[in-house]
């Protein structure tokens, strides 16, 4: 077993893991953070998206041992306690989800986009989220929700 010290959603966390365990496995099974979902398990669908040092990654394609000394952010860290992030509120308002399996990954990826670019175009949103598959919504409501959240966040600052 490998001993790993890392930071998850701002909190220092330690765990023991097998070298073959992915970051997704450890988040879900050892740290009880079940927000990130396993869709494909091969980096195609984005349901397991978390941020690693500020960049969205598929946590199914990161070994847990690689997290040593790095900062991880998951969907559990998107809201401020009970106060939903503007993206989360807009996803509800626009009904930008149905089954919800893709939603945590999309929220994490979209938040990383808006931190880089507070005013993305629709095309930029669609390309940025091209690695987050959704089989329910047809994407339109998701893109509208992200653009609306960006607009609200710009007005608030």
């Amino acid at each position: 077993m490998i001993h790993v010290s890392t930071t998850v959603n701002g909190d220092a966390r330690e765990f023991l893991c097998d070298p073959r365990e992915t970051l997704l496995d450890v988040l879900r099974d050892r740290l009880e953070l079940t927000g990130a979902k396993e869709g494909c398990g091969t980096g195609d669908c984005g349901a397991c998206t978390v941020v690693l040092d500020g960049r969205p990654v598929c946590s199914c394609l990161v070994l847990a041992a690689e997290a040593q000394g790095h900062e991880i952010g998951t969907v559990e860290g998107v809201s401020d306690g009970e106060d939903l992030h503007p993206l989360q509120r807009k996803f509800i308002e626009h009904a930008a989800l149905q089954c919800g399996i893709c939603t945590p990954g999309i929220l994490v990826a979209a938040k990383a986009l808006l931190e880089r670019d507070p005013d993305p175009s629709e095309t930029e949103v669609r390309y940025w989220l091209a690695g987050n598959l959704c089989r329910c919504t047809g994407y339109d409501k998701i893109v509208r929700a992200v653009l609306d959240a960006a607009s609200e966040m710009r007005e608030a600052t």
Partner: protein
């Protein structure tokens, strides 16, 4: 599986050289971990190179050449304005691979060592005249990128050898490069054909040119005849026709679900022409 985090490439090479089972080096993991997860390749020793100093550095040397560490990600490359200004084709080729999430991890060195004939960044690196630094049990060597792939999933790297960095030559005055690929959609697909072109101009005249093609043979190809077809021309229609003919003549593709032999051969000529035009315009700025 044993997971190693050496602090030097010499140590990484020594671990690999001493290993008796299946060994893989881990940079971004976008191929290695997919193979691990799919039970295609289960390494006995997995050697993570990301704790080695300088492995994520992009450095412009005094002579204008570049060193890109083996673990520099596509996202890091795509944010480096000075590199984009000199080698936009190499950057756009790596940037085409996968999603935002894959970009945060994928690397030039990994794309090369994975050995896919459809690897997007490899034609761009070959066109650019890139080399890789290799550390092995018998010391270090520098080899041309076109000499690395030997077949699908195979490379000329010897047991215990590891790529430590990618080198791009000095761009020089009036040079430009470009990479184009054909896929049947706009994002997130594997090249049916890829074409990289790098050239230098003296006024309107092309003084040097290199052309490389992907996904049309068991390895990415450097097509010397295609580059030669451009040299001395001002990229007129005759030169472009000669370029396309040379590109088509070099193709030895397979037919599969993504394209037939005839289609791939035709598209190779079309993409070589289009990439040459973009490289030529970039060289003129």
């Amino acid at each position: 599986m044993r997971y190693h985090t050496p602090s030097s490439f010499e140590d990484a090479s020594a671990i690999a050289a001493a290993a008796t089972g299946v060994t893989r080096f881990l940079a971004g993991g976008t191929d290695v971990l997919v193979q691990l997860r799919s039970d295609l390749v289960t390494p006995d020793d997995l050697i993570d190179i990301k704790q080695i100093a300088g492995v994520r550095d992009i450095t412009r040397r005094d002579d204008g050449s570049w060193r890109i560490g083996a673990a520099v990600s596509g996202a890091e490359l795509a944010e480096h304005e000075a590199l984009i200004a000199e080698w936009p084709g190499v950057v756009e080729a790596l940037e085409l691979i996968g999603s935002t999430q894959i970009q945060a991890r994928c690397t030039l060195a990994g794309n090369l060592c994975n050995g896919s004939p459809a690897a997007d960044s490899v034609p761009a690196m070959i066109a650019a005249g890139a080399t890789v630094n290799v550390v092995g049990p018998e010391g270090t060597r520098e080899i041309a990128v076109e000499d690395v792939p030997t077949g699908p999933g195979m490379t000329s790297l010897r047991p215990g050898e590891v790529v430590s960095a990618v080198n791009l030559p000095a761009r020089g005055e009036s040079g430009g490069d470009a990479y184009l690929r054909f896929i049947p959609r706009t994002e997130m697909d594997i090249a049916v054909v890829g074409a990289g072109v790098s050239l230098s101009r003296d006024g309107d005249t092309i003084t040097a040119a290199r052309v490389a093609l992907g996904a049309v043979a068991p390895t990415v190809l450097l097509v010397e005849e295609a580059g030669a077809a451009l040299v001395g021309s001002a990229l007129d229609d005759m030169a472009l026709a000669a370029l396309a003919k040379a590109a088509e003549a070099a193709c030895r593709p397979i037919s599969d679900k993504r394209g037939t032999v005839e289609f791939r051969t035709h598209v190779a000529g079309v993409l070589a022409r289009r990439a040459a035009r973009i490289a030529y315009d970039r060289a003129g700025v």
